[in-house]
């Protein structure tokens, strides 16, 4: 690439076959590798897995700091490397009834990891998936980093250890059977929970479990099935809890029967992280019907190191009586942490923030409004050989988003007699256990954390807020409590995706028909990574391909940010404002790419248009990854790219690589008045995504049915991100107080047509899926909308800066009272206003 620009040209990319040779390969013809595991002393057969030096992702030669580290070493690598040392602590047990149990040190919040684990075990052992029971492990501190559920890393990290453990178990059963059957082990096979001899006799696992048990724990070697021998992996499998879920029998935390754990709710301050100065009517509220206790508690989210806040908790016979008592409290509140801050003041501070520190040679300070300086030359340069270079320079604004799941923050806690027992659907139970021990002043060994199945997580349960609340209340009142956040708390005291801006400067040569440079600078309110990636990154620092002086957030950014296209010289930068916990922030089913990629793809569309190229072919010509090319071609061919559409209807397409996978999303948006102005009381109508085609390559798909579900969910999240899913910050708190205020995708927004193509295996290992589609879907829908209306939106969601489309609920008292007209108000609630069109 000729030219004079301040950015060092990116080193040439290595061909994909070389780059990924350590992680992927042809699905057939693999040589069998031997894996080491443990046979564990136990009454029935128990085996563990250990990963050896035959590492699947052994350290590649890592480059010096350069843009797009994520292409070489990404977040998935970090998460996998962090679990590797403890993988041998994961065990598979054959029970005396012949079934197989596995206690998985991960959260199951709908993503399907227990079903996937059962499939892996059934595959290796030659049994039915239904004979495998997968439960969730209590907090196990010895697992270190191997008990967290984040970064779409669960399947990536358990894939080999679980199969090794299952293969060892099968081997031991066969050995035990060989002795009894008087046959050679290699003549035996396993099927349907039995070991079969060539002569036709068989023994059920149930009769072998004890015989196969080990008296001492010892190392053992096993081989794994080859990819081309798989019978279960790769075939759609329904969720292990689908029947329980549709019959109401599935038990979430608040459904557990813990004696005397009475409902508990919290009166929270009117502004973010405020504090209680005094409670003025304690006796009166303690005397209300059903109320057993009212106590003030600390609500510090980061014990010992963050900002302080407090609140008042009410324990009562029913949650309804908690709500009434919370609202009856007369509390004098102190100031909050961000009083006076609003969307406008935050935007001002983001724009005024200094240049990122992690880029080479920052350019001269931008003369326009004191904004972030960009590195590449401004308009008007002439490059040797390509003539005049033109520039696209664009800022995008992304407002706050909530990561609230349908099941609110919940925990049951029983803190008595120097012990604590806590139930909470934590994504990080070991951290939860550590924090509980700290705030309760107990040894960690006296704190038990059970992990029930969660009703969604999306990053919210990477924080222990509800468990800490519940434990603090239980300790104070000396009784068990069943604590639930009210939905209003979820909006106003919950975790948010930080507001951020993304600035893009792209230069291109119309004469040469080429993009010359692409620079993207992301500036965000600080994201709180302390409980999720903090210690993990510190522990892996020696392996990370960049200097230690980067902030945690910059590290995470470099591990995730990507530009899948060859766009000339590429420079990326990340900067943030505020302390890590000024706002309670976190991920929202994805980290940076849900903003970073839409900003990027909207400019890529502009580049394609200015260079006179088809937007899909422009991308296809510039992706260097064969898998990315293939998924783009799949949506092009099966999604009807480029077909004639009426005015006001348009398509958008993007491709995205993350979590060792590649996904293309083709979205079609209808902005015609007949669609956009349809009336459903209280609904967000407006432009409708009417058709979505997704093609996804995760290397080796384990459960295509579950993988499709993850893609569908990611699309729904992306739709909300583009149109209406946001929180409005005004004077120190968010205006939204429930669903309907916070406008996540509903049935009336969901695309009537959605098609997910699961690409055939492109490797011998699975990638991650939970977050993969979010950034891509957000970007594709944004691009389609821009095309349909002929104007590129630059602020997201597009409805955010319109009038606030709901009546703001009171901050004092803090909870919206439950209506009384539920027998008359169905399906619309009594308070439903007119429909809201975010694009009008």
């Amino acid at each position: 690439m000729p030219g004079k620009h301040h950015t060092a040209p990116r080193p040439p990319r290595r061909p994909i076959a070389n780059k990924r040779s350590a992680t992927t390969g042809p699905p057939t013809g693999m040589h069998r590798r031997r894996f080491l595991g443990y046979l564990i002393a136990a009454p029935t057969l128990a085996v563990g897995a250990k990963l050896t030096g035959d590492s699947l992702l052994s350290a590649e030669a890592l480059p010096s700091p350069a843009p797009e580290v994520s292409e070489v070493y990404d977040l998935s690598d970090l998460l996998l490397d962090s679990t590797r040392p403890t993988a041998n602590l994961i065990t598979v047990v054959v029970n005396s009834d012949g079934t197989v149990s596995f206690t998985i040190p991960r959260a199951e919040s709908g993503q399907g990891i227990t079903t996937t684990a059962a499939m892996l075990i059934a595959e290796e052992m030659g049994i039915d998936v239904s004979d495998v029971t997968v439960d969730l492990a209590d907090a196990r501190p010895e697992l270190l980093f191997n008990q967290q559920t984040q970064g779409s890393a669960s399947v990536i990290s358990i894939y080999t250890p679980v199969r090794v453990a299952a293969a060892l178990a099968r081997g031991r059963l066969v050995e035990a059977a060989a002795t009894i059957l008087g046959d050679e082990a290699e003549n035996l096979r396993t099927t349907a929970g039995r070991v079969l001899s060539t002569g036709g006799s068989s023994i059920p696992f149930a009769e072998l479990a004890a015989a196969a048990a080990n008296e001492v724990t010892r190392e053992a070697v096993t081989e794994l099935k080859a990819v081309d021998e798989f019978e279960i992996i790769g075939k759609g499998q329904r969720r292990d809890d689908v029947v329980a879920a549709v019959t109401g029998r599935k038990k979430y935390t608040m459904d557990l029967d813990v004696p005397d754990a009475l409902p508990t709710m919290i009166a929270r301050p009117p502004t973010i992280k405020g504090t209680v100065e005094s409670v003025n009517n304690l006796a009166q509220v303690r005397g209300m019907p059903g109320v057993t206790d009212v106590v003030e508690i600390s609500t510090d989210a980061e014990p010992g190191r963050g900002t302080t806040s407090s609140a008042v908790a009410v324990r009562a016979r029913t949650f309804g009586q908690c709500i009434d008592a919370v609202n009856a409290l007369d509390i004098t509140w102190g100031r909050g942490n961000v009083d006076g801050e609003s969307d406008a003041s935050i935007l001002e501070q983001l724009r005024a923030a200094d240049a990122p520190a992690n880029l080479p040679s920052p350019g001269p300070v931008d003369e326009v409004g004191g904004r972030l300086p960009l590195v590449t030359e401004p308009v008007g340069d002439v490059l040797d050989g390509v003539g005049a270079v033109e520039t696209i320079d664009q800022e995008f604004v992304f407002y706050w988003r909530s990561n609230a799941a349908m099941e609110p923050n919940v925990a049951i806690a029983d803190v008595r007699d120097g012990e604590a027992e806590v139930w909470t659907p934590s994504q990080i139970p070991i951290v939860t256990q550590t924090q509980l021990a700290q705030v309760l002043d107990l040894p960690q060994s006296q704190v038990t954390v059970h992990v029930p199945r969660g009703g969604g997580a999306f990053g919210r349960r990477l924080f222990s807020d509800a468990a800490l609340d519940a434990a603090r209340v239980s300790k104070k009142v000396g009784k068990p409590v069943r604590l639930m956040w009210h939905r209003a708390d979820e909006c106003r005291a919950g975790r948010v995706h930080p507001m951020c801006i993304s600035r893009v400067r792209a230069t291109y040569s119309p004469t040469a028909g080429e993009v010359v440079s692409f620079e993207q600078r992301h500036t965000s309110v600080a994201t709180d990574y302390t409980e999720s990636f903090g210690d993990m990154i510190t522990s892996q620092a020696a392996k990370l391909p960049f200097a230690n002086e980067l902030t945690l957030s910059q590290t995470v950014f470099l591990l995730t940010a990507s530009v899948p296209y060859d766009l000339g010289a590429i420079a990326l930068g990340y900067n943030e404002i505020f302390d890590f916990d000024r706002f309670a922030t976190g991920s929202v089913r994805n980290l940076n790419n849900q903003d970073f990629r839409p900003a990027q793809e909207l400019v890529v569309d502009q580049l394609a248009e200015r260079l006179g190229e088809d937007r899909l072919e422009f991308r296809r010509d510039r992706v260097e990854d064969e898998r990315a090319k293939a998924v783009l071609e799949a949506v092009r061919d099966q999604g009807g790219w480029g077909e004639d559409l009426p005015e006001g209807v348009a398509q958008g397409v993007v491709v995205h690589n993350e979590y060792k996978g590649s996904v293309a999303v083709l979205a079609e948006v209808d902005t015609r008045p007949a669609t956009a102005e349809r009336e459903i009381p209280g609904a967000t109508t407006g432009p409708r995504v009417r058709k979505v085609t997704v093609a996804v390559d995760v290397g080796l798909p384990i459960n295509p049915l579950g993988l499709k579900a993850q893609m569908e969910g990611g699309v729904m999240t992306g739709i909300a991100h583009v149109f209406t899913g946001s929180l409005h910050l005004r004077d120190g708190n968010f205006l939204e107080g429930s669903w309907d205020d916070y406008r996540y995708t509903r049935h009336w927004n969901a695309p009537p047509e959605i098609d997910v193509i699961v690409m055939p295996p492109s490797g011998d290992r699975p990638g991650g899926a939970g977050e993969l589609a979010v950034g891509a879907a957000t970007a594709a829908v944004a691009c389609a909308y821009a095309r349909a209306v002929g104007e590129m939106p630059t602020s997201f969601p597009i409805g955010h800066t319109k009038d606030v489309p709901f009546e703001v609920k009171d901050f004092v008292p803090p909870l919206p009272p439950s209506p009384t007209d539920g027998l008359e108000a169905y399906p619309a609630p009594s308070a439903a206003g007119p429909a809201f069109n975010p694009a009008s």
């Binding site: 689908v242 109401g248 016979r317 029913t318 639930m484 569908e712 209506p819 169905y826």
Partner: protein
Amino acid sequence: MPPRTLSVNGRQVTVDVEDDVRLLWVLRDLLKINGPKYGCGINVCKACTSHINGRAFNPCSVPVGRIRPTDEITTIEGLPDTVGADLHPMQEAWIDRDVPQCGYCQPGQIMAAVDLVRKVKAEGGSVTDDDIDEIRNMCACGTYARIREAIKQGAENM
């Protein structure tokens, strides 16, 4: 407060509770009928959708004092009994399509779907995409596409 008699899922139950406590909490906290879920408490998310005398409603917004002893409350747990089977056809369709992800909203989604199909059938029609568009039940996992297909499939067997 005098003991109150309710008819829930075909059984008579007696409970001591103040009149103004919303039915959702009587079901969940006192009767331990946990199928109806809390999602908002103000009748906007519809996670608690159940049936009263065969029609959908949201117990989070009904004081228990408004329920008469003769009113028949049906939660997801009692839905199969309304067709005298182990599973209602709508539940069968949900399983067949592997609809749930986290599953938290699904009891409410199913109860809303059954109500919708009953309503359109009573009006002599069949369920359309426009009808499904008006279901308010919120799902944060984003299972809407499978719900849409499952409702159509379940309706065929109702």
